[in-house]
């Protein structure tokens, strides 16, 4: 039997709300970046560097990064509990599911740590 031990918040409502909120942050971030790119058609390294030196941009980027990690985890957890279940893979399902969840948990953690390091490493 599946349970919710590996779900983000163990509450359907909370996961659902986090999924929505992070989606809004991510869309806002991508719109921000797209608008910026549109307004700087001949972008140079120095302009790009200046953008990410701004503390607010750093905060916004880290927020978007965290949102991406949470959003992905909820989605991937849902996929793993839809498709890697005893009905499909029998008693092996739990190992496949754990491997899948473990792989992506690790990957997302690496993204997060690397991302924060890179963003915060930009000298102002």
């Amino acid at each position: 039997m599946l349970n919710n031990a590996t779900s983000l918040s163990r509450s359907g409502l909370r996961d659902w709300l986090i999924q929505r909120a992070t989606a809004i942050i991510l869309s806002a971030y991508f719109i921000f970046i797209l608008v910026y790119l549109f307004r700087h058609p001949h972008l140079t390294y120095y302009e790009w560097h200046a953008l990410f030196s701004n503390t607010w941009v750093k905060i916004f980027s880290v927020m978007a990064l965290i949102a991406m990690v949470l959003h992905s985890w909820i989605g991937l957890w849902t996929i793993s509990t839809d498709y890697f279940i005893a009905r499909f893979q029998g008693s092996k399902a739990v190992y496949i599911r754990l491997a899948f969840q473990g792989f992506f948990a690790l990957l997302l953690l690496i993204y997060l740590l690397f991302g924060v390091q890179i963003l915060w490493g930009v000298s102002s």
Partner: protein, 237 residues
């Protein structure tokens, strides 16, 4: 007019695998009938071993839900003229359910989910002398909910129910759940909602809307699910 009917056949005691059996039927041109009448015709004239469920033959009992040319519906109210494509009709049991025989499926899990939502009025107030009254406005809130005949066409068209029929209540059960949540006479709203708050019971609905497309009674389970989500939100924020 010649019609090719392909029907899913499976008798676990006899067959190793399910298969599609062809039946060919000649009609005078312009004949129309319900899919259920066609099944009876085949059973009476060609193959008496063909098994299917039916009772009311007028869209009221919900026992002849099946997959008709790829879409779930009630055989008794689905006219051939609406579903036959290129003189061909394919009939299969409701998808994702264990098959008992031919078009007859095991509905145990579907009913288990229905049972989970406590499909009855719960009221802890003293029993009134005559009856529990409701204003016409409150009664109106149950329209579009009470009409469900539990045919399972919606739940067995829902991918989320296919993957997790043990944990996801499914559109039929959730529509019924909202029918009691919306009832002004019911006093167990809190308890009902707390039973639905895990990540599976309600939140496995991913808004695919297959349920709305197939309901033979024209009901909208996805809308009811949205209302439940809203109630959960109100309750816990």
């Amino acid at each position: 007019m010649n019609l090719l009917v392909q029907i899913y056949r499976y008798n676990p005691c006899v067959h190793d695998h399910p298969y599609l059996q062809d039946y060919s039927i000649d009609f005078p041109a312009e004949t129309d009938m319900m899919v259920l009448d066609l099944l009876h015709l085949i059973q009476e004239t060609q193959d008496e071993t063909l098994s299917f469920r039916r009772s009311c033959r007028e869209g009221v009992c919900g026992s002849d839900g099946m997959n008709i040319n790829g879409v779930n519906g009630l055989a008794c109210i689905m006219p051939l003229s609406q579903v036959v494509k290129k003189n061909k009709l394919v009939l299969r049991p409701l998808p994702g359910m264990p098959v008992v025989r031919d078009l007859v499926v095991d509905m145990a899990l579907f009913y288990k989910q229905y049972e989970k939502i406590q499909p009855y009025l719960i009221n802890d107030q003293p029993i009134p002398v005559q009856e529990r009254l409701q204003t016409p406005e409150d009664r109106e809130k149950l329209d579009g909910l009470y009409e469900c005949i539990l045919c399972a066409c919606c739940s067995t068209a829902c991918p989320s129910f296919w993957w997790n029929p043990e944990k996801y209540i499914g559109p039929a059960g959730l529509l019924q759940s909202y029918r009691f949540l919306a009832d002004s006479r019911d006093t167990a709203k809190k308890e009902r909602l707390s039973n639905l708050s895990d990540p599976f019971s309600v939140f496995r609905c991913r808004g695919i809307l297959n349920c709305v497309n197939v309901c033979p009674k024209g009901l909208n389970p996805a809308k009811a699910i949205g209302h439940i989500r809203h109630l959960l939100l109100e309750e816990s924020t």
